[in-house]
Subunit: 114 residues, 4 copies
């Protein structure tokens, strides 16, 4: 995924519509969490088993769109805050490895919360 | 960002800890929204002006980590659901362009909700 | 507010529709957070000043309905988990008083997170 | 539950700490959704069956506290917006009854979203 290229597209999109005025990090964090909840909404009444096969149902496209919306706001926010998402992810995976040593975390759901 | 490579790392990470059993799409959507709220929490009492300069404060690293957590769960979920995040984003940007024509959307916050 | 009475109404409502099967605490926590996000969505692009006068706009009824939805799911969840909401609130206010002593918390937004 | 009495306590609590300045409806909607996510976090890796017996585990008190936090912010917001929560709930239950007629909604999870 070419993050820089998407950031340019999203920036142009916002500027053309005079929406940049609304895109401060506080508002973007709200919009991001709203999109995350729209994804949750799709799964809220499903059993874990139904959730696993969601892409084979007529909700599949909806799932994909909500995931795209989350990605879009995350990339937009990274642009506004000058965060390098790739480096941030790399750093966090290393940190998580130290925080959850295999020996202590094996099969333990309580230890998962990151 | 090399999504495939990160997906492999996250999959290995989960398998080593026997966490794959917890990573159904329903649970991952919950975890993703929890991380999004942890980002919101940082901004909840700040003015929009304070939010804009958050990266210059001692909360900057925290912001970056929460953004990484969101990205990590989104990539993990895309792996479990076989969603191509790059294509999903491209498709959604095109769709948003049609949904929010420049002439009707200019400076109109009410029209922004995607 | 007569919580017991509302719980009876909500329980009857669910039973008449065979929805009780979906109302386990995990699913209800998801539904509750989705409703909370629908409230956030109303405010996401507003300035704090615009937010303060929301009830005088045509979004006022919408705000009231989303707040009702949150209350409804919270009361439903309290019923399913046998939680006495009134006592829980009383206990939490006392706890917050100890956690945030006036002398240390005065005007300090960072100390607010509960 | 005596909402008016709790509103008075919460208002005094905020005033004593100079926190009223942070309690505009936008910020309160964020805080409310953050608390809702803290409730979701408790359930995120549990099976529906484990979720049902949560009150018998050492997470029971935690659940009760997060539910109280949600209630507290909802009551605080109702105070700031002059919303009568009791009436709002009554109105919404009537509206839901019309929106989800028993005959069309029976056992149908897709129809539940409110």
């Amino acid at each position: 995924m070419n993050i820089k290229n998407i950031q340019k597209q999203l920036s142009d999109f916002a500027n053309e519509r005079d929406w940049d005025q609304f895109h401060n990090p506080k508002n973007l964090s709200m919009a991001l969490s709203v999109e995350a909840s729209e994804l949750v909404e799709i799964f809220q009444w499903l059993t874990p088993e139904q959730a696993k096969v969601i892409m084979n149902t007529d909700e599949g496209e909806h799932v994909q769109e909500e995931m795209a919306d989350i990605m879009i706001y995350l990339i937009r926010m990274a642009d506004k805050l000058n965060v390098d998402l790739g480096s941030a992810v790399d750093d966090k995976i290393i940190k998580n490895g130290k925080r959850y040593p295999v020996s202590l975390s094996k099969g333990n759901a309580k230890k998962i919360t990151i």
